[in-house]
Symmetry: C2
Subunit: 337 residues, 2 copies
Amino acid sequence: MDFPEVLTEARALVTPAMDAALVRLSPEIRRVIDYHMGWRDAEGRPVQRRGSKSVRPALAFLSARAGGGAAGDATAGAVTVEFLNNWAFLIDDVMDRDRYRRHRETAWVVFGEGQAICAGTALLTLAEQVLLECDSPHRLAALRLTLDTSAMMLAGQTLDMTFEQRLDFTVDESMTMTRSKTASLMRCATSIGAILVGAPEDVVDALEEFGQCLGVAFQARDDMLGIWGISDQTGGRPPGFDLKARKGTLPIAVALRDERCGSELRDLLSAHQELPDADVARAADLVAAAGGREWTDDLARRMVMQATKAIDRLDLADDVRGHFEHLAAMGLPDDVA
Amino acid sequence: MDFPEVLTEARALVTPAMDAALVRLSPEIRRVIDYHMGWRDAEGRPVQRRGSKSVRPALAFLSARAGGGAAGDATAGAVTVEFLNNWAFLIDDVMDRDRYRRHRETAWVVFGEGQAICAGTALLTLAEQVLLECDSPHRLAALRLTLDTSAMMLAGQTLDMTFEQRLDFTVDESMTMTRSKTASLMRCATSIGAILVGAPEDVVDALEEFGQCLGVAFQARDDMLGIWGISDQTGGRPPGFDLKARKGTLPIAVALRDERCGSELRDLLSAHQELPDADVARAADLVAAAGGREWTDDLARRMVMQATKAIDRLDLADDVRGHFEHLAAMGLPDDVA
């Protein structure tokens, strides 16, 4: 099984378990979820399923194997992280006013904000129900981790929103936001499987460190795509959308602390409620000139390296280690234009 | 201890437990909660605490006593229902565009929609953490009930939002919404204490029926206030706000099925995005003429009676029964102008 197969296999394992859980939702919530997941169109007609890459479920399955169990022991954990990830997508899209995801209109654009938020929150609740009802004797520890994770994600999203109202956030604040909003879920994915199979504490600790570092790397790479990505890489979002939306991402935070470029960037970003297309290229150049691009690229690479080191401590089957390393390499910003 | 004291005492018991839980929230989320609860102003300065009437915590404490335990055994349950209730307030206010609650601007008006939604959802997560960590050997059954309750509340809120887009909802649909959106939380409040103390199934069943009926009665009364209530009773909302917002409440659903008044009402409600003040009185008269007021008033009374009957089956201490009956009487629409 080479690299993409680990994702294909994860999706094949997690999808029926998700389907089994989703039957509990009301028809009104279900239609929003089915659209958001890429399973049905806005009118409820089935479409060729696309959906997510299933990175987080794949990590959850590998985590169970790293903890000495079988992939299937982490099914409830894989469903949980996939539901949490989609909860975050659904509510973040509303709050960030993002109109496109995976090359389709976002759920709130199609169904309204309230519907998208309730549907997202229903996934959060459903994730906890799935965990509470699974047959692992360690399910309560996994549930505790999940609740901590969702609390951190909410704190991170809230902090993120405060950034949009001010242009004085620091790199430290942006790192705190990155850790709580994104890395916490990746850490949950890389450790929940091991927790469900009752792995020893040092194994869980190493897997948590792996996920935490990987999460920061993924976000750093995403932050670069939010400025320099092309539409193909960003699910159809306009170029420079993080600049347009004045997001508190890492490269922007780094650039804002630069004396010369930072003040020009601040002037540019604060001149309009939304940065006009004509100014996006100039703002992106300022971020690069201030070193924001290099700093973020370097962070992503260091984090992938630290993640890999964390699992070097573990006694893993060769294929598990190989898959972990392949997935970690997805955090490298090599393909940013 | 006469009637208002049961609420005062409940608040005295639940408030320190809420405070102890809330320290886990991030400062950004905490300021939204403290404002919403009526503990601090928009700038974060402490104000004379007002907050909720604490009906649901009081029911949770009484529920523990009805199940053979002490009030204090239900502290985590009381915190849970109070957090769930405030979660619902925070998100419903955003979705219904309600600008006033408890005679103050709502949290989303002050802090923005995203902040209010994250803060509300943080209360939901925190409620589950409090339950999972409490020391009752029956905490998992209580957690299961709480997850079912939040899932039902989300289904109800979602159904409610679909009503606003159409004026063809039936009385059955409005009842389904009432049961899932409001009554489910009341049922949780009246049974969670008994569950936490390990009461026998027939006791829990009777308390659930009590709460379910009481919840429908409270909502029916609220539906009447949403049309005929005066500002003092509705926390500062404008008169007839449910008509203005085209809510799918019970009296409106009943009126819409009336051949003559229903069609005039439908024309009036659909003529504008928001009903002008001048037409509110006419719309309210149409609802009354169609029998919507009488029907809803009658429902509230029957539900209070059925609730009282449900607990008649139980062997309760006199003071517990008396408090339950007093709280149930709050569902009677006697004071609707």
